[in-house]
Point group: C2
Chain length 328, copies 2
């Protein structure tokens, strides 16, 4: 019997989850829930119904895990605790500072309902977090470094789009190669924000807009750009569509650490991702954790979990014996 | 209160475990057990007793986890099930083909005693295994690739030492850079043994030995060298001691996979290690899993586990809330 999955929210992430389910033969897409008029939402999988979110609760006995594909700013803080009343749930909540309160809210709801809620799943938070933790546990004396990119930052692209005179924009976060090399060399450098990443912006200006003013507004924007070396290119709408229509991303997690009685031996652990599609890769991880949520709940576990609380074997459809044979 | 650790077997690995315990303030070395005459074994930690292995059982109430630092060929198949009768245990059993029977033997013993036994801990098997599993779960349609090196293979060095006329030897396993690049490019190449690694040997010959004969015996040795491009250098004993006295190692685990409705997007996951000391890094991982064995047993878990069965949070001394704050 397949694990019956529901998707709540059908944007880039929801569509990615739909694609990922197709790659996992032990899972089955059972329904998509949307806040839009269901008949206006066209999904890829034939024969699967689209319902209004208000109908989700009524489907609770037909769905083993509900994957929440909303945004972290306003959707998930409400949705994850709400739907954990009725479903095992997985989300990709990524507002770092608010994880403690989100965890507490989901835990309260899932403890009451006896369901499992896995939050903050994806690659960062997610796979990168796991690598930071494993590396720190394996090399207690050392430093962790995280670099992002090269990739499109949607938050930074949105920030540029909000500037007056900007029609559209794409922002790439780029790790500084020399900083990466310094870490790999084992010198454990202390790196400022500016030394770790640069930012490159491709901007379509409205006709007649003051480009110098836009460029200055981008480069001096606090939090987003002022602490970075930022390059701004003005391009046409056609160029943006032709050359910047994908959502690649990636990055690096490194740990530089020492062992030995006198700390005489040095080690570097490096994990990196090179992704054509940020939302599809994120979705693919979420689907593996949806399997874990279901399996853990079947064993009687409940409450809020993160990737740190999930034994790796739960992510796979294969038996323990097969995993040991194939991967150990 | 600290976790009280015992070490059984005091070679490179045992000494590495001793060093690693010193880097983990929540752990304490309680005793070392040896098959040698205890008074002949000098350890690094002041005030810690060395006992004969026969005394181990009598110390079972003073030790929370016993780390087994013997070899996979003959020591661990006997020791791990035996000591799991009395202790939570961790080993680094790495004879891949025999893992199923080792797992079964340790599980039987640990289920009976109510202890936890974690087997096959280190970096391969160990961290590399975890990366193969996580990557496969996150990208179900794809290929895993494992490369080892550059590093000293002790098994291959030993094989050379057994050749007549060889006084000493060191063998390095070296990944082929062009094969690594082909995998990173996303082309999912099919690679033969010869295409993935080369082998470089530094040999000290006995005086008057036939070097051409030795070189030929190395290069044609089945399983060890005949499937590889092998280079043999004859050097002096002094050169071997000066230039090849360490045990560096490392390697790469990559997954190349696709996502999307029509598999149109490609992703590369890469994990790599660059280690000055293979035994010390292995030991450091083992100590983190010793903590996990203790914590899992405190929660009532028992039986044989591998790295696949251990939720990452167990490896750390920090609380769940702190882990989420620092690493998520």
């Amino acid at each position: 019997m397949s694990i019956r999955v529901g998707i709540l929210g059908y944007g880039n992430l929801g569509r990615g989850v739909e694609c990922a389910i197709r790659q996992n033969p032990d899972m089955e897409l059972k329904a998509v829930f949307t806040r839009r008029a269901p008949e206006t939402v066209k999904i890829l999988t034939e024969g699967v119904p689209v319902y209004h979110v208000d109908e989700a609760e009524a489907k609770k006995d037909e769905i083993d895990v509900l994957i929440l594909c909303g945004g972290s700013a306003t959707d998930l803080p409400v949705q994850t605790p709400k739907y954990a009343q009725w479903f095992n749930v997985v989300d990709s909540f990524d507002t770092h500072a608010k994880i403690p309160e989100h965890f507490a809210a989901v835990d309260e709801s899932a403890q009451k309902s006896g369901k499992v809620g896995i939050i903050s799943v994806g690659w960062d938070p997610g796979m990168f977090s796991l690598n930071r933790l494993y590396a720190a546990a394996c090399l207690p004396e050392g430093e962790n470094y995280t670099f992002w990119g090269k990739g499109v930052s949607q938050g930074h692209s949105d920030a540029i789009r909000r500037i007056e005179g900007v029609k559209d924009a794409r922002q790439y976060t780029i790790p500084v190669e020399s900083a990466l090399e310094a870490v790999r060399s084992g010198s454990s450098p202390e790196l400022t924000t500016r030394e770790k990443h640069t930012r490159e912006c491709f901007v379509v200006a409205e006709e007649g807009a003051d480009q110098a003013k836009i460029e200055n507004e981008i480069k001096t924007m606090p939090n987003y750009f002022s602490d970075y070396d930022t390059t701004v290119h003005f391009i046409t709408e056609e160029e943006l569509k032709r050359d910047h229509n994908r959502l690649p991303h990636g990055g690096f997690v490194l740990r530089s650490g020492k062992t030995g009685w006198n700390k005489e031996n040095h080690h570097i652990i490096e994990y990196s991702l090179k992704l054509d599609s940020n939302p599809e890769f994120t979705s693919s991880i979420i689907v593996a954790y949806a399997r874990a949520a279901y399996k853990m709940n079947q064993e009687g576990q409940k409450g809020c979990k993160t990737v740190f609380d999930v034994a790796p074997a739960y992510l796979s459809a294969e038996s323990g014996a097969d995993l040991r044979k194939k991967y150990l």
